[in-house]
Assembly symmetry: C2
Homo-oligomer: 404 residues x 2
């Protein structure tokens, strides 16, 4: 029997209990042992819920019980999660977590403790909900040197952008709708400003490239400035607007990372990732293109990923599953040196002016927006773009990057 303690009986925590109860037969078979939920920690009581019998309010009970093999941290936030997780690992208990903030901030330290103790710290549910991308990076794509990860890693913003494109509604209207449906929180900042996606791409990049990418170093731009007009241009171009979290290896040892809205063309498998779905595109030097698609959030998909970690830890109770992530910092190159193409909407300007500055560009005119037009630049460094665009001072309505 493998005893687990679940920290937090919120959405994900109750999902974990539900998944273990629903699929206990197949889960125990896969784990090679009976998974027993010995404790659930929460400050609240849940009278009438069967979990009440195993509910504790004091973490000390879990920390001091040598029978607890695995601690499942699904509380969220940095504290007290960090203190609880660190103590569990130091006392030889494996930990799995869905907490992207914790992993993005303290991942290297916690993984190091797990390695020393020959136990495991796993976090499949921290990026992309139910999509098994972390296990793929850790144990499937091991023959490859990964040189790109680009993800649609936030379901809330993907839903909002999808609604804006299909219904023509503006940002505020779709945000309200998303909040009513429970897809967006009362304070939507972490989603719409890209902070959530930023932490996730930091984690995925650290695993893929084997160094620690500090999320605070990643340029992050949200979707708050995207308008129905931008969507109309995108549709005319046969493209869709997606909030992409991306990192790339350039040459031997240069990297860049950013979170920003991008125009994505039909030839990309990310183009048709709609609604609340998430997807992670990976390019490996021998594998080529691969993509992983699924529910990026939600109680049961997230719990499915947490429970898959529990099964893996039960199968490897006193054996560290190697990961490629080290504490060495991943240095990012200056975004000014990163090449790309840029979609730009301008007003009170002429095609001739634009072409004088940018050379040959692709022009888009939409009847419904008189007095303005848009163009897509050829490939150039971002620094070069910024120098050039200064000459259109005051005439730029918006700029969106183009995904190639």
């Amino acid at each position: 029997m493998v005893n687990i303690a679940v920290l937090g009986y919120g959405t994900v925590g109750s999902g974990v209990v539900e998944v273990i109860n629903t699929n206990h037969k197949s889960i125990n078979k896969r784990a090679g042992a009976e998974i027993n939920i010995k404790y659930v920690l929460d400050l609240r009581d849940f009278p009438g819920d069967p979990v009440q019998d195993i509910l504790v309010h004091d973490y000390e009970i879990i920390a001091n019980d040598p029978e607890v093999d695995i601690v499942v941290e699904v509380m969220g936030g940095i504290e007290p999660a960090y203190t609880f997780v660190k103590r569990a690992l130091e006392s030889g208990k494996s930990v799995c977590t869905s907490n992207k903030a914790l992993v993005a901030k303290h991942g290297p330290e916690l993984m190091e403790i797990a390695r020393e103790k020959d136990i495991n710290f796993l976090f499949e549910a921290s990026c992309g909900g139910g999509i098994p991308i972390i296990r793929a990076l850790n144990s499937s794509l091991t023959a490859d040197e990964i040189d790109e990860i680009t993800g649609i890693l936030n379901g809330t913003t993907n839903y909002m952008l999808y609604k804006m494109s299909t219904e023509g509604s503006d940002f505020d209207a779709v945000l309200k709708e998303a909040q009513e449906k429970g897809y967006a929180e009362a304070d939507p900042t972490a989603d719409v400003e890209g902070y959530d996606a930023c932490r996730k791409i930091a984690i995925l990049s650290s695993l893929a490239y084997g160094k620690f990418l500090n999320y605070e170093n990643i340029y992050t731009e949200g979707i708050t400035k995207i308008t129905p007009a931008d969507m109309a241009y995108a549709a005319d171009l046969g493209m869709s607007v997606k909030l992409l979290a991306t990192s790339r290896k350039i040459g031997n040892d240069s990297f860049y990372a950013m979170v920003a809205p991008f125009l994505v063309g039909k030839e990309s498998p990310l183009y048709s990732v709609n609604d609340v779905f998430n997807a992670v595109f990976v390019h490996g030097n021998v594998l080529g293109d691969a993509m992983f698609y699924g529910s990026g959030a939600g109680k049961l998909p997230t719990a499915s990923a947490v429970v898959a970690d529990i099964v893996d830890e039960a199968k490897h109770l006193h054996r560290n599953i190697m990961t490629n992530w080290t504490s060495r910092p991943l240095e990012l190159m200056d975004l000014a040196d990163v090449e790309g193409r840029f979609f730009v909407r301008v007003k009170e300007a002429t095609v001739a002016q634009v072409e004088e500055i940018f050379g040959n560009v692709q022009i888009v005119n939409l009847k419904q927006f008189p007095g303005e037009f848009a163009f897509i630049t050829s490939e150039m460094k971002q620094g070069e773009y910024e120098e050039k665009v200064k000459k259109l001072n005051g005439r730029v309505i918006t700029m969106i990057r183009v995904k190639d």
Copy 2:
């Protein structure tokens, strides 16, 4: 050091050697040991190729060398692959293979030997080339009970259908083009008749449902009857024609499986899997929808999957990685009892006649095909469809299933 022997220096075998040489640093780090190619077995000689130094023509040398830890079978075909693999496993050497014919026919027996010897028999490259779907089923989706797997598992036919839909060419023309490009073999039967996809869905279903699905029991229909006219109707419906290999769990313990062309709508993530790409859609009872996308064939993507198996076996040299596949046979229900919708093209018939037989149907008329029309039935059992369609005796041009 972990010594491996590669059986067969054809496309995949030379890819395996190339991948190990190209990425040796990261591969050795991931494996936690140096992967050393001690032998390559082939009947031919390769003068000038560095592999010549480690080339052997006689399997006895490999079988009798206790230093060989892992045998990599990339010869293809049942014999002598089966004999070689079985001998290797019985003498305690782990085996990985890209050979779907071998796995589909002898998988349960070979896995059983590996389990008894506490070594491993892995076959990631046998389904979907570089797509890490087998490892996902084995070690990621362990919290779920899988109730559907639907894949585009054959790159040749997907390329051909894509070309037929985008260029309006007929089957023979695209087959010739695919052969010229090296995407189809001189004898294309295994691809175009669906036999290749059939073996792959048998393997994936066996892993997902934990019982052995004999590929010989799977209804298999190829793409040879698909015409440019079918493609025109599909385009008008906003759908695409895909050769799907699918299996489903219905209720508690009933299963069906089939390989056939399907009309796929835009809401399915399989809709936009084009060209030579493969994808595997999986539905889990807690995970919901997930899809894995990538290169289904090709030298390096396939070799990437083989080498990932080598890394996994090097990490678990004397420890069997559990799989869910048992030797118990998976019984399939009668396809007559399976529900679905059916796209039917008819000539010399009236809408009234069709509606009298099938009730309410969706009618499609295309100007360029006078004298015929098409309809899509409501959901009904295939047996019921077959009974009804008899009444249109001689007036049916074609029937294609619809993916819901």
